[in-house]
């Protein structure tokens, strides 16, 4: 028993977080009133597996909390309780708390105990409320809190009608005193048994010595257990597997349904009659929060029980727990857990580094293949023809290989979308709006690195839509709309890009107000005429907000500029369209991956540079009459009514160009941050191609105006231009 369990912690956390996500999703789908059985089962399984895992790893706080949760869920599962709105709120809160607890434990930080116990209290209260209704004799308040309060011993544990379970097992479990030293916890075994079916446990405290003689590290207790469950003996043995050799264990099949009534009566009577030293009658499922008294004797700390006058009877305090939780867990077939695991194993976890390594190797192969193709095309003769055919085949296979490797890094956008149902629900509730969230194209796949960075911008956009876009139900009704607004998230592939769209049918953007605000703040001259596009563009300026009041949700004016910067960093674009009174749409265009960029090759002198296609607006040849010099320094040219500065790439990068005359070369109109446009003067355009981005910083360092490098078909290196960086660099230079 000296296995180092910490090695499994990471896997447990990862699985638990994923499980919580699926639990949250299931909770949100749960219909109030007519819940789907399968969904409840999913939710229950999550709570159950987290409970099991955290108990195994000794995260007792999490185990205790999830236990309460599980108890409540079990009520739902058996149909004795109904899903209500407060309950689903409570369950969602539980998901948050569990997540926080797991995170705290993962990072070895203290758990927010107050929050946990508050929620646990709420959970238990809900269970207790249900219990008080049918079982009049049971304690009116959650019993768990009032630990030593001696509840009427007469209150039978079996308040619920006996579940028709045919088999009845009688188990005598007598651990040796050294049990604890071997790392076994009888409480856990009892809980596991309770999951198999209906469990009656009677603790035999006969061997318990007086307090003075008591050794807290020894186990003095034994248990007589009765289990009603449709299970095989082997399943029961499995529970005690770890304790084998550390205990005396007898398992006997005593009867089927026929003897049910009689045995039940016997078991109720037992507390009074059996066990000479006073038997503790403990509910099969330990009470919601294990009350100190009931908990203590079963787990490791016998002294607590001993303190409660062991010589007389330990029955009084412990019996209090008995009526609290009628042990009526439906038989959870233990065997079904491994089956589920099997079904999940269609995927494996691979570290991102391994995939990156694979990507690099494939990238090199592609380059080598390109070199071979070039060589092959120069050969002549009959065998050369065959060689070329072979090379063409190789090229196809390479492309497929490269695509497959890329796909390994791809994840469906659902990973990001899945956080929205919850967020929208909470926000709508808080703002008193009715909002329906529509998700489409969730299966659209994109690179993991892009995926990780797109989440926050999307959250912001959705929040904006809900806070500013969708009107209150009254306003909507007045405008002749249905009271519930719709926020629509859509993703789809468009060419080599992915388009993500956030749209709403709310009030839309008020052009005039935006313009007025911009004029107020001096961002736009009083007589400037702006196109719609340019007006919406203003929203992306830092600190710009037309919201009448700032809420804690949005409206502070930070945000849209950050959204746009994030999108730009990913090499994407963001566009806004809106119609007053009908709603707005935000369209984000992103590259599928950060490892590859669509580029335009340009030449300056003997050098080749790659300009990312996404930053290019247009390429053109300049006429001398369109160019003017500003204050003898910079050059500008007119482009669609605007004057754009010319950046001569050969000057910035210090290379000898083919030509310095503007109308002999070409100008690439490129866009930096915030629609800032420049004309990039180069010798010539070469061609468009997809290039694999390589870092310059691995072996060298950062270079201003360059975002990376790539390897061309002939094996030579070309630098990839960073247009925003280039604009910044030249701005600094001309200012100096």
């Amino acid at each position: 028993m000296t296995i180092d369990l910490t090695q499994f912690h990471e896997a447990f956390f990862e699985e638990s977080f994923e499980a919580l996500d699926s639990m949250e999703a299931a909770l949100l789908k749960l219909d109030i009133g007519a819940p789907d059985k399968e969904l409840i089962n999913t939710i229950f399984r999550v709570a159950h597996s987290i409970k099991g895992g955290s108990a195994t790893f000794g995260f007792s706080d999490i185990a205790s909390f999830t236990h309460s949760l599980e108890t409540l869920l079990d009520e739902l599962r058996s149909g004795t309780m109904q899903v209500t709105v407060p309950m689903s709120d409570l369950l969602l809160k539980s998901v948050d708390v569990m997540r926080a607890m797991l995170r705290a434990v993962q990072h070895k930080k203290p758990i927010d105990a107050q929050k946990v116990s508050d929620l646990q209290f709420d959970l238990e209260l809900m269970i207790a409320q249900k219990n008080t209704a049918p079982a009049a004799a049971a304690a009116p308040t959650p019993v768990a809190i009032a630990a030593p309060a001696p509840a009427p011993a007469s209150a039978p544990a079996e308040v619920a009608p006996p579940v028709p379970v045919p088999k009845r097992w009688e188990i005598t479990f007598k651990p040796f005193p050294e049990l604890f030293a071997r790392g076994n916890d009888p409480l856990r075994m009892l809980r596991e048994l309770a999951e198999l079916g209906e469990l009656e446990s009677i603790a035999d405290l006969a061997a318990l010595p007086a307090f003075a003689q008591l050794d807290p590290q020894s186990c003095y207790m034994a248990w007589n257990l009765q289990l009603r469950a449709e299970v095989e003996e082997s399943a029961i043995k499995q529970v005690f597997e770890w304790a084998e050799g550390d205990c005396e264990l007898q398992i006997e099949l005593v009867g089927g349904p026929a003897t049910e009534g009689a045995s039940q009566a016997a078991s109720v009577a037992q507390p009074a009659s059996t066990a000479p030293g006073g038997a503790a009658h403990i509910g099969g499922t330990p009470a919601p929060t294990p009350p100190p008294a009931a908990h203590a004797p079963v787990s490791s700390a016998s002294p607590a029980a001993a303190a409660a006058s062991p010589s007389t009877t330990a029955a009084a305090p412990t019996q209090a727990a008995a009526p609290a939780a009628p042990p009526k867990l439906e038989a959870v077939p233990k065997a079904d857990a491994p089956i589920e695991k099997m079904a999940d194993s269609g995927s494996i976890r691979v570290s991102v580094e391994k995939i990156d390594e694979l990507m690099n190797t494939v990238g090199e192969l592609v380059i080598t293949q390109a070199m071979l193709s070039q060589l092959g095309s120069r050969l002549e003769g009959p065998t050369a023809e065959k060689l070329r055919a072979g090379l063409a085949q190789l090229e196809r296979n390479m492309r497929e290989l490269q695509e497959s490797v890329m796909r390994v890094r791809m994840l469906p956008i659902n990973v990001v979308f899945s956080r929205f149902p919850r967020m929208v629900r909470d926000l709508a509730q808080r703002l008193g709006k009715q909002i329906e969230l529509k998700l489409t194209g969730e299966q659209t796949e994109l690179d993991k690195t892009v995926l990780e960075k797109i989440g926050d911008p999307l959250v912001h956009l959705v929040r904006n839509s809900i806070d500013h876009g969708i009107e209150t139900p009254e306003k909507r009704a007045a405008a002749g709309k249905i009271p519930a607004g719709t926020v629509h998230l859509d993703a789809c592939h468009r060419g080599g890009n992915i388009a993500v769209e956030v749209s709403d049918d709310g009030g839309g953007l008020d052009k005039h107000r935006i313009l007025a605000k911009a004029r107020d703040r001096g961002l736009v001259g009083p007589n400037d005429v702006l196109t719609d596009e340019q007006i919406y563009e203003l929203i992306f300026l830092p600190g710009f907000s037309t919201a009448e009041k700032t809420t804690d949700v949005s409206g502070r004016g930070v945000g849209m500029d950050v959204v746009r910067r994030n999108i730009k960093e990913l090499g994407g674009k963001i566009e806004l369209r809106s119609e007053l009174g009908k709603g707005s749409r935000t369209i984000i265009t992103l590259p599928l991956t950060l490892a590859i960029v669509d580029g335009q090759s340009v030449s300056v002198g003997g050098e080749t540079y790659i300009v990312p296609l996404i930053s290019i607006v247009e390429s053109m040849q300049l006429k001398a009459e369109n160019v003017s010099r500003l204050s003898g320094r910079g050059e500008v040219f007119s482009f669609r009514g605007f004057y754009l500065p010319i950046i001569r790439l050969h000057e910035v990068f210090g290379v000898e160009p083919r030509t310095r005359v503007l109308d002999e070369g070409l100008v690439v109109v490129a866009e930096g941050e915030g629609h800032q446009r420049i004309g990039l003067f180069v010798d010539d355009l070469l061609g468009q191609q997809q290039v694999v981005i390589k870092s310059l910083e691995t072996n060298y360092g950062h270079v201003e105006g360059v975002s990376g490098a790539t390897i061309l078909g002939d094996g030579s290196v070309a630098l990839i231009l960073d247009i925003p960086g280039l604009i910044r660099a030249t701005a600094v230079r001309s200012a100096a």
Partner: protein, 169 residues
């Protein structure tokens, strides 16, 4: 300077050194740092790079900067010919391992150097920094200058790694 040259450790025994020629001198680098020796091919220039950083090359998929040691040592510039050689070495810097290519006139030999025979570099005073010289060792009646490439190139990398490349502009 000369005091910190690790020359007095007889326990190290001998180690192998790759020697190469630069002008009239012979230099040596620890063979364990040598990744690869390849012929010279055209490099891609890097904007704003120091003069002795010629540019970058594709070395089996990774982008490797190329340094001209002649320029680094302020020797006369040589024409790059078919026999001009690039030695790719790895450097341990604060930022981890980095690969660099150095252009030399030609590669001579791999020799065993007895650690006891390594003499400390003479102190040239303020005329030239010699902290990148690990020591001098006679090999076949020639003096081989043992280089400490971490100090030779690694210290420059520290300045390249940041964004203060503007000064070249």
């Amino acid at each position: 300077m000369s005091a910190n040259a690790p020359v007095k450790n007889a326990g190290e025994g001998s180690h192998q050194v790759l020697t190469f020629v630069l002008g009239k001198e012979t230099y040596g680098v620890d063979i364990l740092r040598v990744q690869e020796i390849r012929g010279y091919s055209a490099v891609t220039k890097i904007p704003h790079a120091p003069a002795h950083v010629l540019g970058v090359l594709n070395l089996r998929g990774s982008i490797v900067p190329i340094v001209d040691l002649r320029m680094r040592f302020s020797l006369d510039r040589a024409e790059y010919t078919a026999v001009t050689v690039i030695i790719v070495v790895s450097i341990m810097s604060a930022a981890g391992r980095r690969d660099f290519g150095v252009v030399v006139d030609g590669v001579s030999d791999v020799v065993d150097v007895d650690t006891d025979e390594v003499k400390p570099a003479p102190d040239l005073g303020s005329r030239g920094a010699t902290d990148y010289i690990r020591g001098l060792v006679p090999v076949a009646e020639r003096m081989v200058v043992l280089l400490d490439i971490d100090k030779l190139i690694g210290t420059e990398l520290a300045t390249l790694g940041g964004s203060n490349v503007n000064q070249a502009a």
